[in-house]
Symmetry: C2
Subunit: 378 residues, 2 copies
């Protein structure tokens, strides 16, 4: 129950052990053609979605360095570990970064973006870079509202890290006009890590035409050229393509709206259980990610809870990162997760806290709330 | 029988379908610790070997951009598709590239390196970049001799693409003093594509300290910092680590010298069979790669041979790239290849040519030579 790698269905795992086929073969071309169509469906876009062998960071870096040039002014949202990372990437490439911060656990404030973008009457700001679902804190930022300000600006493009939000909640790329979406295979995709994806709008490709940052392995022009021939510029992680085809087919069968509703329901059920057990949620009310719930226990070391639940129930929870280590634990409910997983983790937490003598409510109260949400939300 | 992805043993494939473990877990740390030791054994080095999720190109690019700075003078050897690629990468990052060329099929001439390096009395040349086994032509370049000239220069570092030579022939990294070795999982490693490796000498790390090219995902400092904690800076292709551990354990059981002898013997047996059938070898005599044999048929389209042998015997051979398309075919004998594979491909080629009415020798003469080598070389 960590926020990635997420659980992988057995039929998808079985695909991983097929013998790799040649990446210049007709069979592989068919695989690229099919998965590219499926990826467009998942991104709700008619634009190109490119597949990179690498982590989500590689995809996000590719989005940044393929649309910008040295010295370009950009705004980076930073309210967690990943927001922080995009500031680092931007600085590593000599971009002129204005950072909009929020405390960890708080969402980014769209008004701060609005202000900076409106003040930019000379249209110097080339991009807004932000994380949608901040995995480190369980906060979902208001991508739609911030993107609305970017559209009002007119010139800047929106580069969004949707690594733990894509396939968990609705992100209609074309409808909203998001320019770059980066994501990674070990999240909503339900496959093991190793592939990442960059979706690019027409406006993003226009920006690419004048971008001058050096790159080769992450040069998206090379990926565009080859995806049009149903191929890949470098030797890709072929076995992960087998898994990708299988998992995207499962997702298509479930349907986007059902997938989004399932994640919202699991988020709500998890949050309700945690609150009923007397826990504080780390993310500000109303900004809990559909992918992950961060929980802040009072007067108990979060690491001791993690250790105990792993030991007694073999359930792995994520800990807090950096200054949050020991302060929070994080429950992933992203990807191949069902109601059984949700009631398991909530009741195991209840049992664990009870054993530690730290449960603030009668045993059963947490799971009762969780079950109530599960049984009443569709 | 293509030069990558190479055949994967069944026990290695089975590892691929295990459920991914958390990349921040103790179990994964053990896996990194073990595979890092195994990688050092394979590279014959006490220095660090870093694992990247990406293709061999990503590893080679990492080696280049982590040791050099904008405007640095470098020599690139170019006698095939991959040599050509390193020239492109170097230029993409604004390096000042002197190219030493040889015709495709010919080896790079160490004397040309010697001349340029000796003329550089001000020691401006910062690196020599070259491909050891040129997959596109089946030529093995004399890495040891060229590296000898680099050592005599004293200042420049050697950055070697050993993607199809590592695990096929002897490359004692520390003994020879190679500074950077890049390789990829889908070659001698016998695992599917998706991981690549960069080994770095002390001198390469010294060069890294003053290197200023922009990077993030390929920033080897981040990999060094985390490998020392048996971890990885980004979410790696965990399932490929399972496969890596399994295949490196198989390789350790076989032993380096046995692996090298097997590849040399298969190269010799393949070459002998091809010559006895009246084929020309594309690589200059004495410079045939232990990983791949490129064959240049006379007055027959190489593509028609490939098509026929795929159709009748389900054996996939590689074709020629770029201007060599239709002119050559390439037999991969790298990684998990045994005597059965060698006699299969040679006899299937003999049968195919016979059916096409293009065999220049009596049927059986090719395979007889191949068998003779197999039975007389240990």
């Amino acid at each position: 129950m960590i926020p990635g790698p997420t659980p992988v269905p057995e039929n998808v795992l079985n695909c991983m052990s097929k013998h790799p086929i040649g990446h210049r073969s007709g069979d592989f071309q068919e695989l690229v053609e099919k998965t590219t169509k499926q990826l467009k469906w998942l991104h709700q876009t008619n634009g190109e979605v490119l597949t990179i062998t690498g982590s989500g960071t590689a995809a996000m870096e590719a989005g940044i360095i393929n649309t910008l040039s040295k010295g370009d002014e950009v705004i980076c949202g930073d309210n967690g570990k990943f927001g922080e990372r995009w500031v680092k990437v931007s600085k590593a490439y000599g971009l002129n970064v204005k950072v909009i911060k929020a405390d960890w656990g708080q969402p980014l404030d769209p008004n701060q973006f609005k202000k900076l973008l409106e003040e930019d009457i000379n249209k110097n700001i080339k991009a807004v870079i932000m994380t949608h679902s901040e995995t480190s804190t369980g906060v979902i930022n208001d991508l739609q509202a911030i993107n609305h300000e970017v559209k009002n600006h007119g010139k800047a493009i929106m580069i969004a890290d949707c690594v733990t939000s894509l396939g968990a909640c609705n992100i209609p790329m074309d409808e909203w006009g998001i320019d770059v979406i980066a994501s990674g295979s070990q999240k909503g995709y339900m496959i093991p890590p190793g592939l990442s994806f960059v979706a690019m709008s027409k406006k993003a490709w226009d920006a690419n035409a004048v971008s001058n940052l050096p790159k080769f392995y992450l040069d998206l022009k090379l990926y565009l050229k080859t995806v049009n021939k149903n191929s890949n510029p470098f030797t890709p992680a072929i076995n992960l393509y087998f898994a990708l085809e299988e998992s995207l087919t499962m997702m298509q069968k479930e349907g986007l709206n059902n997938i989004f509703a399932r994640h919202a329901r699991h988020r709500n059920a998890t949050q309700a259980g945690m609150k009923a057990m007397g826990f504080n949620l780390f993310a500000k009310e109303g900004f809990g990610s559909p992918a992950i719930t961060a929980v802040q226990p009072e007067d108990i070391d979060a690491e001791s809870i993690r250790k105990s639940i792993k030991n007694d129930y073999d359930i792995l929870l994520a800990g807090g990162q950096d200054h949050l280590k020991g302060k929070i634990f994080r429950i992933g409910h992203l990807g191949f997760v069902n109601d059984r997983d949700i009631i398991s983790v909530v009741s195991a937490l209840e049992s664990t806290l009870d054993k530690m003598g730290k449960l603030k409510s009668p045993v059963g109260q947490g799971i009762a709330k969780t079950i109530s949400v599960l049984n009443n939300e569709s």
